[in-house]
Amino acid sequence: MIEFLPLIAISVSVMGAILIVLIGDRNPNLRESISVIAGIIKFGAVVSLVPAFLQGKEIYLKVATVLPGLDLSFRVDGLGLLFALGASFLWIITTFYSIGYMRGLREHAQTRYFACFALSLSSAIGISFAANLFTMFIFYEALTIVTYPLVAHHEDREGLEGGRQYVFYLLGTAKVFLLSAIVLTYVLTGTLEFKKGGIFTPELVRNNTLLLQIMLIFYLYGFNKSAIMPIHSWLPAAMVAPTPVSALLHAVAVVKAGVFTVSRVLLNVYGGDAIKALNMQDFILFITSFTIITASLIAMTRDDFKARLAFSTVANLSYIIIGVAMFSPSGILGGIVHITMHAFSKITMFFVAGAVYVCAHTKKISELDGIGKKMPITMFSFALATLSMVGIPAFAGFISKFNLALGAIEISKPELVGVFVVSSFLNAAYFIPVVYRAFFREPKNPLKWVDVKENLFCAIPLFITSLFTVILGLYPNLPIIIIRSMLQ
């Protein structure tokens, strides 16, 4: 019975989407409650997998064999479970936030919005429980497709242009790089099933070194949702979407699906031994370090609130890959746990950006002087999230950064610690001014924020997520246990 739970978790939001479309605009309250109920069932299904997983049970379900070695099948492991937990939990919170945001701004096409949202969560869960590259590829492509209407939601010139870039980059890289890498993997090994320690035998690695190196690069850039530089520009472009979309999809589901898939390839297709034998470890560490520093520097120059968050996301995604690419216990732990830790901090920040836009109608950081007094819960939550992003002890971000630094020392590459330190300073440099402006500066025009008051539909969800950055910072046991039991 338990092996059907992943399938239930995937299909419940597809059902939800169908119901949402059927109900439509006639009864918005019912429509949104279906989103919430589907979210709760989904989260319940994912959570009930945790005990069985911790007992070490094998949870595997094969739905169909399409071609020899090409199955549609699902397996639950630590990496996938952690990603699914975070995504399904944050979906519930985002739904509440979306209600406040979409109704607050009287957005059009809300039915399509909620339906696509539900479908994108199905795809994200499908990616997390996929047992092989083929299944993962299906859901990866599906995620791109169903998020397009969300990115292009406003349907104006800007929205369509952002959506065009989004689809062009993601589908294009998936076709050119990913498809060739997957087909070559299939040709070389005859299977696409994930395996602990990788599916390429040492003999294969010796005979096809150049090919496997090229394929690795193809995988890194083929799963382009991970936004490794230089192919990252779709992510800032996709910020034209409504803020809840940017929040969930570009802090939790889409981009995390990207780094998740890359981690899967590194851990379960190649494996540490193969990567080291191919001399590719330094390459991955270099491009990710480069991305971290460069993206942080770019983020400092952006005045648009969401653009700054977007570049910060680009940088933080590479944290996860750098950790996994260390292939040392602490490195992998730090990298994967950052999926969760960063998700809670970054979604809070996006929620704040959206809440400010809904209540005060501004998108510029330079115009935020003094808004903290009018929106205390919102800006306080932002402060908490900032501390977590910077990596202050007792906050979520510290757990991952600490383990990442440990990992760097384990593989005796202290220069990586330097990268983390510099990037933490940069994090502080571009986030703390926001807090400072909000609380400690007076607006030039004293009457500027007179009409502004907090929208509780927005403020409560973001306060909850910001609390989680503290809770996860103080009690990080669950994610760590899950990852440890996976690494054993």
Partner: protein, 478 residues
């Protein structure tokens, strides 16, 4: 079972003759649907009742020319049965679409379509090269008259070009068949196994076959007839040509290529390269079109390039991939041309730039178009992806460089398909032509649903067409 197969083959011919003799408008419509439907159902029942391994089954055999050991012989095996079903299915669609558009002298038209269907089915099911050749030629007159008489614009030129190209190059098929007869003393396909020829002679023989079929498929640079023949024909005939008749060339290669694997080891890379150039060249042509029907014509030309390339890769993957992809392509090409005709019927134009912003007006049409665009773009889990992965595996196995070349073509394919969808359904502001477009319903809804279900089903269970291919990673030549 033999009777059923005879019924399946003969019913279009009988229907065609009946219509021709009776010449009654209403009667002819009924007969045409009925005879195609009988043929489809019979083939389907036969398909469910046969083994996808081994040689010809349910064979019908009539003695004909004993001196040459030639019989009138039809049979089903793994390679031709899917094509036979496809032909009957596409015929029904073509007949329905013809009846939806105003056509003069519909009786003659329908009897020619049924005759065409009969010759194509006869071609697919013949078990010896002699009969195979006769049906290959017999298909030309009905096709010529259909294009010439009912085409638009300079249809005489289009029909004549089509005729000349196919007819002229079929001389190579003739030479090939004579060569086989001289070397093996028989016309049967089995005799290809026992060719006692030097590698050089075999290469020449294979090139003769390839040239004849490459015109039919077609492969660039032998595609000169395609643009006019596809564009100026009435759309039902375009559907028939691209979904079924183009596949005749691929089927011919599927039949002969496995026996020439030693030739492929020598010159295979060159032919594959040619096919891939055709694939990419036609994709670029498609990228430039603003005319929907031309776009789909070039798309069709492009995709048969990679199907042929995979077939020639000399691997079981490529061989099965091309069989599977031919069927998938047949279904999807038919649906795309059908879509183009729906737009033409309502707006009197194929011009994509005069549409736009349709996404909310016609939800059912959007859904089907989107599904077909996704399927044709190789969305994993839908039918086309399975064929694509098999073909690409075959090509990559042959040569990694050629594989990357193929990937480029695949990527351009996604671009023009998405661009098509964007221009017709999403682009804002839409033109006033968009207001003329109405949603699909009735029998057309059924047709699209059937196509969609086939796409979904073959996405999860391609072994329905290609059978259980256990040892898929072997070369058949080495």
């Amino acid at each position: 079972m033999m009777e059923l197969l005879s019924l399946a083959i003969i019913s279009p011919l009988l229907g065609g003759l009946l219509i021709f003799l009776i010449k009654d408008r209403r009667f002819s419509k009924f007969i045409s649907y009925l005879s195609s439907l009988i043929s489809l159902i019979a083939f389907f029942v036969l398909f469910l009742n046969f083994e996808k391994t081994g040689g010809f089954q349910h064979v019908i055999s009539l003695e004909w020319i004993p001196a040459w050991r030639v019989n009138i012989e039809f049979g089903l095996d793994k390679f031709n049965a899917p094509f036979a079903i496809l032909t009957s299915l596409i015929s029904i669609v073509a007949i329905h679409l013809s009846l939806r558009t105003a056509i003069e002298r519909v009786e003659n038209y329908l009897s020619l379509i049924l005759l065409l269907q009969f010759t194509v089915i006869g071609f697919y099911l013949s078990t010896n090269l002699f009969l195979f050749f006769i049906f290959y030629e017999a298909m030309l007159p009905p096709a010529f008259f259909l294009i010439y008489r009912w085409g638009t614009g300079d249809s005489y030129r289009a029909a004549f070009k089509f005729l000349i190209y196919t007819f002229a190059f079929s001389i190579f098929l003739f030479i090939g068949i004579i060569g086989v007869f001289m070397a093996a003393g028989s016309f049967s396909f089995e005799s290809l196994k026992e060719l006692n020829l030097s590698l050089q002679d075999k290469t020449l023989l294979y090139l003769a076959f390839f040239l004849a079929f490459a015109v039919k498929i077609p492969i660039v640079p032998l595609h000169g007839w395609l643009r006019d023949a596809y564009y100026l024909s009435p759309t039902p005939i375009t559907i028939f040509m691209s979904a079924v008749m183009g596949k005749m060339g691929i089927y011919g290669l599927l039949r002969v290529t496995p026996y020439f694997s030693d030739v492929l080891l020598e010159i295979g890379w060159a032919i594959i390269l040619l096919c891939l150039i055709s694939f990419i060249y036609a994709a670029f042509l498609a990228l430039n079109q603003r005319d929907m029907k031309l776009l789909f014509s070039y798309m069709s030309l492009s995709h048969v390039g990679i199907i042929t390339a995979g077939l020639l890769s000399g691997t079981l993957q490529g061989l099965n991939g091309s069989l599977l992809q031919s069927i998938n392509h047949g279904v999807l090409a038919a649906s795309f041309f059908y879509l183009a005709e729906i737009f033409k019927r309502q707006t009197k134009s194929y011009d994509m730039d005069r549409l736009g912003a349709l996404s909310k007006r016609v939800p059912v049409l959007v859904f089907f178009t989107f599904a077909f665009v996704m399927a044709m773009g190789g969305f994993p889990g839908l039918s086309y992806f399975n064929g694509e992965i098999l073909l690409l595996s075959g090509i990559f196995r042959h040569s990694v460089i050629l594989g990357f070349l193929a990937i480029i073509g695949v990527a351009i394919g996604v671009v023009y398909l998405c661009y098509f969808f964007y221009r017709v359904f999403l682009k804002k502001p839409g033109s006033d032509m968009s207001l003329l477009v109405r949603d699909v319903r009735g029998f057309e809804f059924v047709i699209f649903s059937v196509f969609f279900i086939i796409t979904l089903y073959l996405g999860l269970n391609p072994s329905f067409v290609i059978g259980q291919v256990e040892n898929i990673f072997t070369y058949y030549g080495r």
